[in-house]
């Protein structure tokens, strides 16, 4: 247990010293919400708005989902590719900590960062735009399972990448399209059929839908369905990711 506590403590310390990571995790979602918020504030969107009264209310859960995804993916890919290149994994493989313990610690770390980031965004949305979304246990579970999902996907990605340089851009190749095609900023229903196909397989779609159900309409039943989908995808991604990202070469 002390192994995992040390891993979590020092991971948070390293994160706090990484200004770039801090900006993308905490600053970027606020910036995005501010820009989109002032742009779309006067407009009402036609079509299915998931029961939202206006565009801002619709967008807030989507921006939270997107920031959970990009923070978890980017940091997981960057950390894992870097650790492999620097011999840290080779070193850890000679110590008693197991890969499961280490990655589980990373999930805890990333969850703490995620919840902080979400908290900051919600406070900002309340202060600047007067939004007061409904937050309950279901919402928190969705955020945790969303984090597990994208940490897992990050592990799978990192296992496929060879060089340190290509790491972040490769993560962006996935996260960037998913931001737009998973209903973060505009409803999926208004998109052409081929984009809807992407939305159907994107785990971010279910995270966004779940968060929207909880935060806007308070529909616990539909939110739970989405939570179960995200949790299942998360479990599969995490197990495959931990198995794929080996610390030892044969």
């Amino acid at each position: 247990m002390s192994k995992m506590i040390a891993e979590i403590k020092y991971s948070l310390l390293m994160f706090s010293r990484n200004r770039g990571g801090m900006f993308w995790t905490f600053g970027f979602p606020i910036m995005l919400f501010a820009i989109l918020g002032f742009m779309y504030a006067p407009q009402a969107m036609p079509g299915n708005m998931a029961g939202a009264n206006n565009m801002l209310e619709f967008m807030l859960p989507g921006i939270l989902g997107m920031s959970i995804m990009s923070a978890a993916m980017n940091s997981t890919v960057a950390i894992n590719v870097k650790n492999r290149a620097r011999g840290i994994f080779r070193k850890l493989a000679t110590t008693p900590i197991s890969r499961i313990e280490w990655n589980a610690s990373k999930i805890v770390t990333q969850t703490i960062i995620t919840l902080l980031s979400v908290g900051i965004s919600i406070v900002f949305a309340g202060l600047v735009f007067g939004l007061h979304p409904n937050i309950d246990v279901l919402a928190v579970f969705l955020m945790i399972m969303g984090t597990v999902t994208f940490v897992g996907l990050g592990l799978i990605f990192a296992s496929l990448l060879k060089s340190e340089e290509s790491a972040t851009s490769a993560a962006n190749i996935v996260t960037f399209p998913l931001m737009f095609l998973s209903g973060s900023f505009f409803p999926v229903d208004n998109m052409p059929w081929f984009f809807k196909l992407v939305a159907d397989v994107s785990p971010l779609t279910y995270l966004n839908n779940g968060l929207r159900e909880v935060m806007i309409s308070g529909n616990a039943g539909d939110a739970t369905t989405n939570l179960i989908i995200v949790a299942l995808i998360g479990a599969v991604f995490f197990i495959v990711g931990v198995a794929a990202l080996k610390w030892k070469e044969d």
């Binding site: 192994k3 040390a6 310390l13 010293r17 620097r86 011999g87 070193k91 110590t95 008693p96």
Partner: protein
């Protein structure tokens, strides 16, 4: 109950083999390492040094053969072995955004048994730097931190895989002193290197490895005496007629540029030297200086394999 005396083997390797498809990286090697000694694996890049050390560290699985570390079997007792070995992996860099002290403590927390972090930092002369971020350290200091980390669980055996590769000469010296300090703490050290001066300076015993096989074993002096081709007498910067005269009169001599080089017979070097001195005196010939050059591990490797140990400039 452990019996601690100098002659005890702490590492026992038997017929160790590692194959990658059709390529044999390590070809059935056997050797022992005794308690408290610095044991070096010396060989060129690609000889199988890292593959061997990584099998000993449970990082790679042998194709066949056995490895015992303090009586523990690497195939069955991996968890127990992790607690008693300390490892500096090849080209290891600790976390950039943690300080020296935080890095040492982080790795210490992974073990059930650990040394005092501040004492260890002081022992490696890192107290001044303990609150400096790892990324701001020089190359030599980074390696010293890596070696300090490898000791945090107070291991019985320390593995150092190419600890000075890529360092400048001053930094290499610093790291050498850190490795010497390990020996004075009574640790058994297994070192891999392709620098012959490093093996010569640090090792009690050396195995020379080439193409996956051990081709010679012994103390540095033994290896040099046995395979170094003996010592050579060099008479430097001689005049023209002196060159002819000395080459004619001295047995086993040859001319290289304006120097005379004499291979000294083993055990009878003195008579050749005194003959050279008296020839120079009697013949009234002018030469600048006269000295004896000992052969090195580089000569040992060259004589054993016909190849050079290091191609790159150090």
């Amino acid at each position: 109950m452990k019996v601690k005396h100098m002659q005890e083997n702490v590492i026992e390797v038997r017929s160790l083999m590692k194959k990658y498809g059709g390529f044999t990286a390590v070809d059935g090697i056997s050797f022992n390492v005794k308690r408290g000694e610095v044991f070096a694996f010396l060989g060129p890049n690609g000889a199988g040094k890292t593959t061997t050390v990584e099998m000993l560290e449970c990082l790679k699985t042998p194709t066949s053969g056995s490895v015992g570390l303090l009586g523990l079997d690497i195939k069955k007792d991996e968890m127990a072995i992790k607690e008693i070995i300390g490892v500096l992996p090849q080209s290891f860099n600790a976390y950039d955004f943690l300080t020296v002290r935080e890095n040492v403590d982080y790795f210490g927390q992974m073990y059930a048994r650990r040394s005092n972090v501040d004492h260890l930092i002081a022992a490696f002369g890192l107290t001044d730097k303990k609150n400096v971020l790892f990324k701001n350290l020089s190359g030599g200091l980074k390696q010293r931190v890596g070696i300090a980390i490898s000791l945090i669980n107070d291991p019985e055996i320390v593995f150092l895989d190419e600890p000075t590769t890529g360092l400048d000469p001053k930094a290499r010296r610093e790291v050498w002193e850190a490795i010497k300090a390990l020996k004075s703490r009574g640790k058994t050290v297994f070192l891999t290197t392709h620098y012959m001066d490093e093996a010569y300076y640090l090792a009690d015993r050396i195995d020379i490895i080439n193409r996956g096989r051990i081709i010679a074993e012994g103390t540095p002096e033994d290896l040099i005496n046995k395979y170094g081709g003996g010592n050579t007498l060099i008479i430097r910067d001689c005049e023209c007629h002196a060159l002819d005269y000395l080459e004619r009169e001295l047995p086993c001599s040859r001319r290289i540029g304006s120097d005379i080089v004499v291979s000294l017979p083993e055990g009878d070097g003195m008579s050749s030297i005194s003959k050279a001195v008296s020839l120079i005196n009697e013949g009234q010939v002018a030469c600048k200086e006269l000295y004896v050059k000992k052969s090195t591990l580089e000569d040992v490797f060259l004589n054993l394999t016909g190849e050079k140990l290091v191609q790159e400039a150090v």
